[in-house]
Amino acid sequence: MPKTGPTLKIGRPKALLPDRTHYCAGCGHGVVLRILAEIIDEWGIRDRMVGMAPVGCAVLLYQYLDIDMCEAAHGRTPEVAAGIKRARPDLLVFSYQGDGDLAGIGTNEIVHVANRGEPISVIFINNAVYGMTGGQMAPTTMPGQKTTTTPKGRSIVNEGFPLRVSEMLATLEEPVYIERCVVGTPRDIRRTKNAIKKSLRVQRDLKGFSLIEILSPCPTYWRVPPNKAVAYIEEYFEEVFPRGVIKDKTK
């Protein structure tokens, strides 16, 4: 048989429960959800993994993944994750957070959890908007980007520049691995999956803190068609949030 390139994976991962998600068409959350479920199946870690669902669009994450899960107050997600990890260090713990949760109300928590080097994996979905509440400005909203609370576009004078938390965290001593990925082309998605796997390995083998920021489409509140959202990330968001490894102490 000639090689035909990567096989298409069809069917639902076992760790992804047969529930209809509430995500909008073209939303990136579902892709990351599937990546997590695939890793849980491939590594057989259902019995070792505990996840944190944030407040925001991913609040129902606990409903979709077939693993033990916990909820946190808005922004406190990584501290609750750290509490679980401190109590049961053998678990693999991830904190799944949006940009409002991590870069807005939870800025303090993410900085100090990273600074203490808590051995958890943070999955940071950056779609530059508050989705759950109806499309308001996020700390990562782009200059000029229209949201329901920046009807004329984000003004740098009034609202400041988008916050690059991953770069900020990379200045700290303790974080081991920080990478910004994209939910975009199949290649981008594979890259994202590999980054999440690496983050879990950093947690398991090096007992270190890592964070994977994922630029993720929100066609609904960007007011762009789903099939144009990926190009929108590449052409627009990556000006401020370029993809790539931001910090890697494993090398």
């Binding site: 899960m69 916990c70 909820e71 946190a72 107050a73 401190r86 109590a87």
Partner: protein, 357 residues
Amino acid sequence: MPQTEQKVLITGNVAAAEGAVRAGCRFYFGYPITPQNDLPEYMSARVPEVGGVFIQAESELAAISLVHGAAAAGGRAMTSSSSPGISLKQEGISYLAGSELPAFIVNVQRGGPGLGDVRPAQGDYFQATRGGGHGDYRLIVLAPHTVQETCDLAYEAFDLAEAWRCPVLLLSDQQLGQMMEPVDLPPMKNIPDVQDHPWALSGARSGREKRIVKSFYWRPGELEAFNKRLREKYLRMEKELPRWQTDHADDADIILVAYGTSARIARDAVRHARQEGIRAGLVRPITLWPFPAAPLLEAAKRGARFLVVEMSWGQMVEDVKLALYGTAAPVDLCWRSGGGVPTVHEVTEHVRALAKE
């Protein structure tokens, strides 16, 4: 600190800490605030000594969130603070109550509102007994009046919290927290660092069903059904948990009602009044929620009147009136606020005046 039973001279704050450690607390998370600093300072050495985790968090919000996580994983986790810091923790306390997680919280009250002062006060009574954060819930609220009792109630707190799946708040104050008294230390309980409660997050081992610790119910009717169940639990608690102590209350015409530091002063006032032939007595609630109505109703049936002594300008007095609802018993209030502590003389004068009416 010795592992066996022994008599020691310690502060109320250290007594709360050591009582909790001996009860199996292996996770302490806190943030500095006066007048409870000797509690986290003590824990910073003590908890690692017994193989546990101490973290000085970056904020009260983070400290209570760490408690949330460790409790969800089955650990006996606690935090402590003082009034302004407890206000900040209310977010997490509401989530703990909504997630039905056991946890232990100590509030060494200081004067308020706002930054207030660092003197003894009882102005957080409403906050403590009405849940404190957003939503429809209660906490088990314990009110010690000596350093020994602070240790004993802390020692019992996790058992109550786990039995009822409800956070327990110990309501102390600056005076009770920072004074020293001799304490008989209880023996170490033999509790695993993390327990395998049927709800605890431990990894879905051996194909067991996954567990979710959450307080979010988004489908219509789900939250109401959950809150109904919570209410039924609280009603059972109201039947089973109220605890109090009486002093000369059986034949008293004037019943003083006081908790914590105020109760120590009220007890002395009762003695002075008795020496003068005034039949005064004391009912001292040990649980502030659920509030012990029974001893008050019993005294009211005998025709007693009531004098509430508290270091706030009138909070517990409302629970006393609620307890006596439907009776004709008069209820008076002797109060100091904003860091003021009533003197025995002041309270005794009040009792004398009532006796003359």
